[in-house]
Each structure stands twice: as structure tokens, then as C-alpha cells.
Symmetry: C2
Subunit: 679 residues, 2 copies
């Protein structure tokens, strides 16, 4: 922990480190074309001073100068012979981007705007923390995604929906919190390139509905100002039924004149009081939330109405595509929840106004450990799209079990949608490269809370860090990101760093092995979503079934089944439709197969289930051995905290192994070939 705060600084701890020849560059600093009093600049420069001071022990105040012509023609200003120069450039670098070059002892950071400077300085601090020399640096870094957002599912009573790291640090007992932690949150988010944050849960109820009223404006505006100082736009989740709940209207019909007039007035009020607000995130017609369907209107009707009204204020509407029938009858094998997002949104492709973004979960179901990529991504070709992933590990271990999610996010980004002959990956689509749009990007459901360590498990902070870094630079590898995070957080000692990277990199596969097999998903304890319950969602209303019987399991989503495969462009559709060509890790998502089905490994499906579940537990045991090798080489408190989580993970992994194996053995009556213990 830092000083007397009740929370840690994570990867911004700025532990003292070896100077790789960088300290000498910062004796004198020149600012060309930027106003030192700009809030973002002020924060950036303060961060630089803080980092240099703590990491390299540069204790005297750094001397700053600004060329005498006061920045008006900074490009022509004379530069000093040595030192650090921050210079505004008017072309060659896109907004939020920066170029960092070192030549002859002069380190130059060029950017088109203050946010570029901020990110450049965090780049410098990262290099110093990782003990990498800045000499001979020559890099141009521009964000791949225009929007890089965190979605907080924080409720105003202080709870966090699907939060596994304490309570909210934004809300408590119906009040908005603004304190030192708000600043530190913004610093952490900005340090990895986050430029937007939705403060409150997408399920907007009770007091949260009132966030857009006078009751909360002052506090929300304070947070917006703090965020703005770190280049982060504040967004709010909106209750679609606000005209009824706040306005005393008897409708929320998006085509109703009274409703429109009400929203117009409301938005004028909101943007007057929170002038730098980015806009709104809306979950409508989903899991009991109100929406335009209630009034026989389309999703586009609803989104466009709001978008038109926030447009004069520079706002945008982010509209979630998580719309499906959550009261399905499990006996109904024709309805397929996986189809729902596409079926609900594809027809209106092109109808959404240009300040609407559709936010699409990475998979068609709900953040399972393994799903195919949502066919809406790249399925939509004339609509702004944002990819939603979940850093909070709702179905992937809940920050008890280690599950580094960046490899999963990378797979999604790398997925070829075939929406056009080239530039067709999900990364291309959501970055705007494919269709040339600029309102697009990535959002993550945040995994933060008011725990001392922000993320429950110390190692889960790698998902917070990694999401930001990946959203900024989608070409970074999961391993590079892991190494950065481990170095900054723990140590630059190669063995320590390698061990942590190894733990992170293997963790997703391990988690998958001991949980639900081959893309079938679920099998989790209802409601909590932690731990196994093979039939927990099998006879439920949630559209989540494995359809296991005496002979086999899996959901037939091929042409002969629900037809879901046809939502993909070719050749994906045909590939998924074929048992032979379907990627094996997704086999049971697309096909119902007998337990005796032979996999490419030469194992039967049932033997694969047994083997992978035994392996999963063994791998957790190995992870624990690796962690134990770090004892004494990382801070004791962190060692012990994570050690305890690993104990719980091992318990959980064994429960999964034994319940899944027993379930399928009791159903199939086919014994494990290796005669291990199955109950």
C-alpha cells in the first residue's frame, strides 16, 4: 500500500528500481505548444515527477521551461541540447497517439493532444519500471480502438453486480463517493489507455435511476472533472423507463411526443450540469429491463430517439445487444438463445444513427470460458460496433481461481469474420479499420472494487491492466502484456517474472480443463455462477442447456438443429456446421455427439472429459508449486493472499473434476480407461 491509503497502487507502485540510463534524461524538460496548466498536462507531469522520484530517486524538482513565444509556434522553437522535450505536433500523429524518440541525449515526446502526452508519459514510466533503456527509442504509438472503456456494474447501495473484490468505490448507501481513490482509479485506468468509464450498473434500478437528477449532479460532475483530467470520459447507464419513473409520464414509447420532449429537457439539464459527460449506456429489453419492445418499437427506434437528443450535446448512445428470451422453456429445443442477439439486431443494420454504438458481448451466450465469437461482430456492416468483454470473472473463477483472460480476448480480436475479403478480423471491425467509422472500440466489464488490492486476487489485476493495454494496442501479445504487468507489479527478476507469466498464460486453459468441456459452457451453480452444478441450468428458463443424456451431449446448432451456424459468413458457417471441420474446442457448442465420438486426439469424447478434468486439477497443483517457489521473492502479503486463493481454486477444481466426471460416468456408464477415482 502507498503511504497511508487503504488501497494499493498496483502496477503504479513505482518501486525503486535499477536505472537503465534513463534518469539523466529528465534534468531539464521543455514544453512546446502545450499549456502546463491544462488539467491533463498537469496530471501527466505530476505523474512523471512522482514516478521518477519513487523509482529513480530523483528528488529535486525537475526544471521545466516553455519557449518564450509561449507555444504559439512551438514547432519552430529552439530546443535545448539535452533533456526531455514534450512537443505538440499538428500532423502525423492521430489524436491520443504519441511518438517517442531519443537522439543524442534528447528524449522527445510528440503528440497532437494532451491525452497523447499523458499516454506517452505512462509509456516512459513503464519503461523505467521495467528497467528498459529509453536510449534509441523510436516508436509511434496510436490507439487501435477509438473507445477503450470500462463498464462498472456498481449499484448505488454499494454492491457490485458480479463483483468479486469488495464493494463499490463509486457508491455507498445511495450516495456518490468522491475521494482520493477516485483519483487513483483514474490514474490506473489512464495508465493503460482507458478513455471512457460507465459509472453505474447497466441494470439501472432504484436510486441509480436518479443519477440524472439534481439529487446527484454535483457529485457526478466532480467525478467527471477528475476523470477528464486523466483523459477519461464519464458515461452513465440509463434507465429506459425514466420517463415513467422520473417524469410521471405513463409511457416510455420512443415515438411518443411527450416522451421525446421529456428526454430532450432531461438531456439539456444533464449536459448543462455535467458538461463533459460522454453519453449513456443502455440495457433495454433484456432480462426484465424495460425497452422499446414494450411499445412495439424496434431497438433502433429506441436507440435513435435517445441518440438524436444527446447529439446536440456531443453525446453518444451505447446500446447493448444482450437481448434474448430469458423465460425459455427448457423443453423447447427449437429456440436457441445463441441466435437471439443476431436475430434481434441484424435486420436493422444501417438504421442506427451515427452516434449510436451497438455493444456486443464477445460470444453469443454470456462470458463463458469458451464460446464462438458473436456472429453480430462483422455480421453488422453498417452499424457502429463495440466489443464487450468481461474482466470480472463471473463464469471464469470469480477472482478466486486464476484465469488470465487476455488470451481469450486476443482470440476474439483475431477471429476472421469474413465480412469482407480482407481487414475482416474482429479487431479490424471494432477498431473502425474495416468500415471506416470512428465510434467503435472495446469495453470491459470491470473487475475492480474497494478491496485493498482492487481486484480480490492480486493476480486478477492483470486482467484490468491487460484489457487496457490490449484495447490500446491490439497487436500486443498476451504474453508481452503479462510480462509488463508482472514486472511492474512484482519484480524485474527474470525468474520471478517468468514464473508469473507462466502462471498467467496457462491459467485459462487450466480453468477450461476442469470446468465445462468443449465449448458447452454453463454447468455452474445457479445464481452465484461459481463452482459446478452440471444440471444447474439444464432445466431452467435461461436458454442454457447441455442436453446430456445416456448416449451423448451437446447442442445441435447446425442446419439440422437450431440453424445458428448460418448466422456466420462463409466459410465459418460451413466449418461450424461440420463435425469434422468444427474447431474441437467448440465441438459441443455446435454439435450433439455420442460419448463414444472419436476426437482428433484418438480419445473418445467421454475419455476426453475424464482426462481433461484430471489434468485440470493436476495443473492447479502445479500452479501452486510454481507459486510456492516465489515465496520470499515477492512481498509476503501478496504471496499469502494469492496462496490462499490457490487453495480455494484447488478445492473448486476438485469439485468440478469430481462432479463432472461422476455426472457423466453415472449417465453414460462408461468407465474411465485409466481407472482413476470417479464417484
Amino acid at each position: 500500500m502507498d503511504e497511508d491509503k487503504r488501497w494499493t497502487q498496483l502496477w503504479l507502485a513505482y518501486n525503486p528500481c535499477q536505472d537503465a540510463g534513463n534518469g539523466g534524461l529528465f534534468q531539464h524538460t521543455t514544453l512546446c505548444g502545450f499549456d502546463r496548466e491544462h488539467p491533463v498536462l498537469r496530471n501527466a507531469l505530476a505523474e512523471l515527477e512522482r514516478g521518477l522520484n519513487k523509482m529513480l530517486g530523483i528528488t529535486h524538482v525537475i526544471e521545466w521551461s516553455t519557449p518564450s513565444h509561449d507555444g504559439k509556434s512551438a514547432d519552430q522553437a529552439l530546443l535545448p541540447d539535452t533533456g526531455f522535450t514534450v512537443r505538440r505536433v499538428s500532423e502525423g500523429i492521430r489524436p491520443e497517439g504519441y511518438r517517442l524518440t531519443e537522439q543524442d541525449g534528447i528524449l522527445t515526446l510528440e503528440a497532437a493532444d494532451e491525452k497523447g502526452v499523458l499516454y506517452g508519459i505512462f509509456h516512459i514510466l513503464r519503461q523505467i519500471a521495467l528497467e528498459q533503456p529509453l536510449m534509441q527509442t523510436n516508436v509511434l504509438c496510436e490507439p487501435d480502438n477509438p473507445l477503450r472503456m470500462l463498464n462498472h456494474w456498481d449499484n448505488m447501495d454499494g454492491s457490485i453486480e458480479r463483483g468479486y473484490s469488495g464493494n463499490s468505490f463509486f457508491f455507498e448507501n445511495g450516495e456518490v463517493l468522491v475521494d482520493e481513490r477516485t483519483h487513483d482509479y483514474a490514474r490506473l485506468a489512464a495508465s493503460v489507455g482507458i478513455n471512457g468509464a460507465v459509472l453505474n450498473n447497466v441494470n439501472v434500478k432504484d436510486q441509480a435511476t436518479w443519477l440524472i437528477t439534481d439529487r446527484y449532479f454535483d457529485k457526478v460532475a466532480q467525478i467527471a472533472r477528475i476523470f477528464e483530467g486523466y483523459g477519461i470520459k464519464l458515461f452513465l447507464s440509463l434507465n429506459y423507463a425514466s420517463p415513467l419513473e422520473l417524469g410521471n409520464l405513463n409511457s416510455a414509447d420512443p415515438l411518443n411526443e411527450d416522451v421525446i420532449a421529456w428526454w430532450r429537457g432531461k438531456f439539456s439539464e444533464v449536459f448543462a450540469r455535467i458538461p463533459n459527460l460522454g453519453g449513456f449506456l443502455v440495457k433495454a429489453d433484456s432480462e426484465g429491463r424495460p425497452g422499446p419492445f414494450t411499445y412495439g418499437r424496434t431497438q433502433a427506434d429506441g436507440a435513435n430517439m435517445l441518440a438524436d437528443l444527446v447529439k446536440p450535446h456531443g453525446g453518444i448512445i451505447i446500446w447493448r445487444c444482450f437481448v434474448y428470451n430469458c423465460t425459455q422453456d427448457w423443453r423447447d429445443t427449437k429456440t436457441d438463445r445463441a441466435r437471439a442477439g443476431y436475430d434481434n439486431f441484424i435486420e436493422m443494420d444501417g438504421d442506427y444513427h451515427d452516434n449510436v454504438i451497438l455493444q456486443i458481448k464477445n460470444g453469443p451466450m454470456d462470458f463463458q470460458i469458451r464460446e464462438p465469437v458473436s456472429p453480430l461482430l462483422g455480421g453488422l456492416t453498417r452499424t457502429n460496433q463495440m466489443l464487450e468483454v468481461q474482466a470480472a470473472q463471473e463464469y471464469t473463477g470469480q477472482q478466486i481461481d486464476l484465469c488470465y483472460l487476455i488470451p481469450l480476448f486476443k482470440e476474439v480480436l483475431d477471429f476472421k469474420t469474413y465480412c469482407r475479403p480482407d481487414i475482416d478480423t474482429v479487431a479490424d471491425v471494432v477498431s473502425g479499420r474495416t468500415f471506416g467509422n470512428s465510434l467503435c472500440g472495446m469495453a470491459a466489464v470491470s473487475n475492480t472494487g474497494n478491496d485493498e488490492n482492487w481486484t480480490g486476487n492480486d493476480l486478477a489485476a492483470a486482467n484490468f491492466y491487460g484489457f487496457g493495454r490490449l484495447a490500446f494496442s491490439t497487436s500486443l501479445s498476451a504474453e508481452e502484456i503479462a510480462a509488463e504487468w508482472a514486472g511492474m507489479t512484482y519484480s524485474n527478476d527474470r525468474e520471478v517474472k517468468d514464473s508469473i507469466v507462466k502462471l498467467l498464460m496457462g491459467s485459462r486453459d487450466t480453468y477450461e480443463k476442469y470446468t465445462s468441456p468443449l465449448g458447452i459452457g454453463w454447468m455452474v451453480t445457479p445464481n452465484t455462477h461459481y463452482g459446478p452444478s452440471v444440471d444447474g441450468y439444464e432445466y431452467s428458463r435461461w436458454g442454457t442447456y447441455h442436453r446430456a443424456d445416456h448416449l451423448g451431449l451437446g447442442v445441435d446448432r447446425t442446419d439440422s438443429g437450431t440453424g445458428y451456424v448460418r448466422q456466420y459468413h462463409e466459410p465459418n458457417a460451413s466449418r461450424y456446421n461440420s463435425v469434422e471441420e468444427c474447431p474441437e474446442e467448440l465441438l459441443l457448442f455446435f454439435h450433439h455427439l455420442p460419448y463414444t465420438h472419436m476426437l482428433k486426439s484418438g480419445k473418445t469424447l467421454i475419455q476426453h472429459i475424464y482426462d481433461s478434468h484430471f489434468e485440470g486439477v493436476e495443473e492447479v497443483e502445479e500452479m501452486i508449486r510454481v507459486w510456492e517457489s516465489l515465496k520470499g521473492r515477492i512481498p509476503d502479503a501478496s504471496y499469502e493472499l494469492v496462496r490462499e486463493r490457490f487453495d480455494r481454486q484447488l478445492y473448486n477444481a476438485k469439485e468440478w473434476r469430481d462432479q463432472v466426471n461422476s455426472y457423466f460416468y453415472r449417465k453414460s456408464n462408461i468407465p474411465d480407461e485409466k481407472k482413476r477415482v470417479v464417484f
Copy 2:
């Protein structure tokens, strides 16, 4: 509803009715040997006036007289020629009993105490409500069970653990409620013979721990006085850890002198402030509750310590036997929760002091729709025993589904324990007939709440009514009780009454048919305990397993299994141990059998599962038809409320049918012979 109250009067509605020649008996009333100002007498006589007024329209004030010698030798006092005489007798009638006789136009109610008069008057009112003549009456009614108690699982925040009829009417937001409803509750309870009530939940936490402190004494004492006026002793549930939580001691060891001294002082204080308190109910060492095991002491050590200290105040300690390992590993087939109560308590039989009562749930598990009788009942031979049943339908439909429980309670009472050659049924044991003790009886977990109709489903009030009547007179049949209740509540019209009795009497078998088969129990949704989840408790820590695999299901509790059967006296032990002799409705509780096992019906086990589940749903459909035939013949509001519950029951029954059938079909691969739809 009565007058302007927000709750109904249930069977004490005193609807106008046909006078079966009874009205004339009440023109003049004489009280011999009783003080009219005694609170119980006052309440009893007020009730009589109220009932006569409302049912028979006797509007003028009834004239009372007391013989001039002021009751001192009432037996010799001259009686008037006609009318109603209430007379105290000093012998021939046990406490709380009464004799009612009519001769030559004089109705005489004799009793040894005021409570006898109270019960006698409720008897008279019942006869009038049922339009039965009091002429030629000649009955002696004495309660079979000394203690007839309701246990309320009400929490001080107003919630009710396992309550299905609104919130508590005793507590709200941490405060004790005393109002008109407290009186009506006491009237209703007294009218069916209840003489004890435990106000708060056995799981004593948070504010409830403070019920035995100055914070709440005044209000609790008020309730105790109200109850006392209706012959009901107030009891409280106790937090065994009170010395730690209230006393700032660092132990609750029952042999620790400081602990004993603390309790001694506490009880002096409590009984001084609530002088008519009956004593305490204690759930210790159970499901996370503290208890003597924590300190290496026995259950007897804990109970006796408390009992010795309440004895000078006339108090008793009721100690629950629901002690088992609730963190069992499902993989462990040696541990058997069913064994736990007996294993934990039998060795100390005889060690419990004489003002301790062990309260024993009817079955060894937990209020399932079908369980064998707990072997502790009659297994203990030198210990006061109380039978605990649950009127709240936690596992039996939650006052949504109709499940009249009196037939189940009757079965338990009628069970021959073979604890001695004769007088050996559970009814004998808990009434004190078997072992000659007087601290014993029956307790029911109450099904009441602050719903307008008290019990959620109007028909569930039959369980409240029935428990009291049965506890008072264990020889009453379930059908007699149902008929009384239906007549008093709805109508004396024969068809209406017969229809309601039919619905009630069939309901338990129907519920059993569509839920878990042949005594195996559970298969319910975890936590809520409503609706099916066949594997919901199969891989859990609660000791609740069906052990179904590809070949069969059931738990082997025979000599070759967990040995549970040996906890019974012979011949019960051998009977349960034998597949052939075991009562078929309990077959899967005691035996693990193949799906192809042939039942006495000539059906296989699996076919029985299919058939009974289809039948169960059909029977619910038939119940609905019967109910619909009552439309217009009973009050509309009640008709509609119950109709809506039946819809939910039908939905629930279909879920059970389809999930259970599908589960076993998917596991066994044996199709339904009748080729009905199994998913």
C-alpha cells in the same frame, strides 16, 4: 376480513349460521368457583359473547350470575333451572381439560382451571359454527399432549425463515410489535388448544440475541401477558453464544464458572421482567450455530447448565436434536446424515435434567414429503421428548401447492416404535403415556405471517388449525379435522365441505407423486427448496443424496450400507433392512435399487417413477376442477386467491414431472412403457 382489520379471522370468522337449537341455552349464565375477572375467564367469556352475537344474532348482553357465597364452595351452590353453567371442579378432570354436558336444558361446562373453561368455550363455539346441537352433549376432553407449541421462525428484521405468508407480525425493523393482531393470533392459537409459542427464530442472530436484554423486555412482557390471557406460555429462542455476545466473556463453555454466573444473573433479570415466561428453545451446534461441542462438552452439559439455572424461575429448556455435519463431502458414502440425530443424542439418554426436553424432528432428515420416523422418538427412553413437525411447507409446496399435512403428522403419531411391549406409538411417547413424564408434547414450525389471510394460501390455514387440534386430541382423524376446519372457514353446505375435505385429504399423496419418489426426498431447488432440481443437492455438503446412476438409485441404509436401520427397535430394524418387507413408500430411503426392480404393483421402479409423475399432474388438474366447482359457493376473493395458487401448483407439478422423468430417462435410457412425452 373482520371489521376494519387488515387480516381475516380464519376459522373464527363466526359467520351467521343456522341455530341447531343452541341459542336458547345462553340466556342466563352462572359462574361457579371461577373469578370472572381472571384474564383467561374474561377472554373466554368475551369470546363466547362475540361468537353468539355474530353467529346466532344474540344481541342483548348475556346475563351472568355468580352464586352468593362467592364461589368459595361453588360445588354446593344452587343452580338455576336453565342456562349455561361454568363450574370449577377439584377432581375428575385434568388440568386444561373440560367436561361438557347438557341435561334438561342446562349446559354445564366443568373444568379444573381457567384454561379448561377457555377450551370448553371454544368447543361450544365450534359446535355452533358447525351447526351441531349441544343438546345431549356429554364429553370429557383432556389434552393428550401436555405441551402444544408453535415455533415461529421470525427474525427481528421482520423476515421469516422459511415463511411463505408475508413478514412477521411479531417483529419489524428490529422492533417488537404489539397490536391488535397479537390478540387475534393468541385467540386463533388458543381456539385450537395451543398452549405455548416460541416468538423468535431458532437461528438467533443479530438483534434477536438482544431479546433477553432491557432493550426489549417491556414489549416482550406485554406479549407474554396477552398470551397468558389465552393460556399460552411465551418462550424465546436463545443464542447459546450470549455470554460472548452480550456478556463480553470470552467463552460460552457450559462448565465455566463465569459463564454459569453470567447466565444465572441473566435469567434472574429475564424472569423478573417477564415473570410468566415459559423458558427457552435452543438450537445449538447445528448448521453453524454455536453450542457446547465448541468447548468439548456434550449436548447434555449445555442443556443441563441452562436448565438448572432456569429451574428456580419455573422455566424449562427445550433443546433441539437437529445436530448433524452440514459440511459433508458428497463423495463420502459412509457418513449418513440420517444417523446424526440418534448418534449425537442417544448415549446421553438419562443424563438430561428433568426440566430439559429434547425436541426431535419427525424424520431423521428435514421435513421431507416422506421420511421414516426419527429413531430418536422412542429410542430415548429416559429423556423428555417433544415431536417437532413443520406446518410451514418448506419442502412440501410452500403454501403455493396444496399439501394438507395432518395425514403425515398422524402417520408419525401412529408409528409403533416398539420401545416397550405396549403403549409404544410416537403419540404415546410424546404425550407422556409411555414413560409417565409430563414435560413433553408436540411443536410445529408455524406457517403464519402477516399476509391478510395469515398463511399465504387460504387452504394452508388447515395446517395451522389441524396441528393445534391434533396436538390436543391425537385420536382425531385427519378427515374429521379437515371437515371441522372447512365447515368453520367456508360453509356447512355438505357438498362444499365434502369437496374441500376431498381436496385436503388427497393433497399430500398428490404432492408426493409429482415430487421425489419413494422416500428418497430432496431433488429440490437449492436454497429456496421450491420446485425441482434433481441434482440440486446431489453434490452438496448437506448430506442429502439420491445416488442415482445409470443403473439405479436410492441410499443403502441397511446393514450393508450405512447401518442406519439398526437405530430402530426390532422388528422395525429388520423390516427396513429387507427390500421385501420395507414399506414401499420408503423403499429408496433405505435401499439402492436398480431401475428394473419390480415393485409390488408389478411395475418396475422406473415405470413407477414415470407413472406416478404423470398421475400427480393429472391429480392436480382434477383438484382444479373440484375447486372450480366451488365458484360462487364460497367467497369470491378466497376462490380467486386459491385458484391462482392452483395455477402455480399446476405449473410446478409439470416442472417436477418433466424434470424428474427426463432426468431418469436420460440417465437410464429406459423409455416410458406408455410412450408419453418425456424430454
